[in-house]
Symmetry: C2
Subunit: 320 residues, 2 copies
């Protein structure tokens, strides 16, 4: 990165409180001398963290969108919630490369559509990069929760957005696109999947390789895995849940068999890849600038990790 | 079990060939002196296995339903496929307690509805017992693939069938029913899930505890987890896929660090619970007799395991 970029961070979205996000922000500034931050949240609290003044800008906000709010109604509230202020700032500040929020997914989406939607674009989706068993290979899972009730043409839109993204990020010439289904045969799937299968098969701009079953999500069989936001959310969260459960099993085994040294190492090795809660962030595709959505339960690492994804994306010249 | 029961086995469904199923059948006979078998398949091949004549009955069949066939059309074929012969036999033989098949799921369902549907019952579903982190506790996941496009009233039907089943099987007085969603709040979910949430909340016969996220599927938070067959299939297969991938990671770690003894033990421990492919079977609920559906890629263990589930179900006086 040649010049100083700015990243906008909504500090109010996490269930762990703004302190967790601000801790993460501190690490981001320490690790990246050419990144400055715009911090949206309680200005008094933010000031108390002693950030270097020349590297941050504060936008005061105390209002949030809870998981019980209607995101669209929240958008038109008198006192704007932090997530919308953050997205608005990103849209209007030309040095800002992206936004990070742990807030309500619906609100992040509504704000992104209001402020950052590209004209002539499909509705944005949330992609997650899933680590596969092939060293260094990730599968881009789209959508992971932006749209829970999709049409087949929206799924085709996700396939295009995902293909373009991994083409730029990983320099893959002709990304393999798979469709999540309950069987590998074209006749398998629910109504939506069967319809989408036919559309993807006929789409000349997509390298469609057919249906992929959930048993193979970590096998690296495709570069982009397409599904509706409800299914993608299940895959993402189930993968994390199973990994965390098995880590605990491994640790328990270590205690019982007095082999804690080795089982701790194994657990650390697995955590590094599959603890999406503290490491990962979903990235919105189809917007004018990148929007990163961390889990509601995000700790400091999530902010650090989301910034790293953003910097990587910009360094690889992934255009929105 | 006091008297001799019969189990009907469709020997033609597995991708691994009838030999794999017949190997399993042999073990079942050896392990269970009071279980006799009806084997549906190639009579010449079956005879070549040297089963004790007084303990088996053979129904000759060579026709199958492939994953490319339309199950309903296949049902009306002149020469009946083995799966339908097996289900018909189970329906008409009063000593038969259930059927096991690894064949096409749609065909198993069509056959079950034609021959074994209880009057005044909801459409049957396929339940899978998911091991949880609580020792000895399973969560009954319904549906895992019988109906991929469901209505909310079908999901409520699954909740009833699942509740009744675990009540009998595990003697749980008031089974906790959860609804799979992409957030724990009642407002989260796709259209189907939101509708179903409202229906379950008002259902006085169901102990509905609310939405469950996929990150918690192995946490034992509920006794019955309700979802449509597409979502359930994703959870079941993704759980297996992630577990198998992590086992391979653990093994690789053992080789690199010369700790293969301990990592092999850990892998075996995990395999025992999560290798659904060779161990598990989905059980159909809502039929006059129990129908067990093994995975298409089932080996001999799947047949043994399915018989054990069936025997356990009958011993626990789970009425259809």
């Amino acid at each position: 990165m040649e010049k100083n970029y700015r990243i906008v961070i909504d500090t109010l979205g996490s269930d762990k409180g703004p302190e967790a996000i601000l801790e993460g922000a501190k690490t981001v500034l320490e690790n990246n001398p050419n990144i400055n931050l715009v911090l949206v949240g309680d200005s008094e609290l933010i000031s108390s963290f002693g950030f270097p003044k020349e590297r941050i800008e504060i936008i005061h906000a105390t209002n949030t969108v809870t998981n019980y709010d209607n995101p669209m109604e929240a958008f038109y509230r008198k006192e704007k919630p932090s997530v919308f202020l953050a997205l608005e700032k990103c849209a209007t500040d030309e040095d800002a490369i992206g936004v990070i929020s742990s807030g309500n997914t619906g609100a992040v989406l509504v704000g992104a559509i209001k402020y950052l939607l590209n004209e002539n674009r499909d509705r944005p989706c949330l992609a997650a990069m899933i680590p596969t068993k092939i060293n260094g290979h990730y599968t881009c899972l789209v959508d992971t929760g932006a749209i829970t009730d999709c049409t087949s043409s929206q799924l085709v839109g996700f396939a295009h957005l995902g293909s373009k993204f991994v083409k730029q990020l990983y320099k893959i010439e002709n990304p393999r696109v798979g469709l999540l289904s309950n069987g590998s045969e074209p006749t398998k799937g629910n109504k939506l999947v069967k319809e989408t299968h036919l559309l993807l098969k006929d789409d000349k701009e997509i390298n469609f390789i057919g249906n992929i079953e959930a048993v193979n999500t970590l096998d690296g069989l495709c570069d982009v895995l397409v599904c509706d936001g409800f299914a993608g959310n299940q895959i993402l969260k189930n993968t994390q849940g199973v990994a965390m459960t098995l880590i605990k099993e491994v640790m328990k085994f270590g205690v019982i068999n007095k082999q804690e040294d080795i089982t701790k190492q194994i657990a650390g090795h697995i955590m590094k890849n599959y603890d999406f809660e503290s490491n990962g962030a979903a990235i919105m595709l189809g917007t004018k600038k990148y929007v990163l959505k961390c889990r509601g339960s995000s700790g400091p690492n999530a902010t650090v990790s989301a910034c790293n994804i953003l910097i990587n994306v910009i360094n690889n010249k992934c255009y929105y």
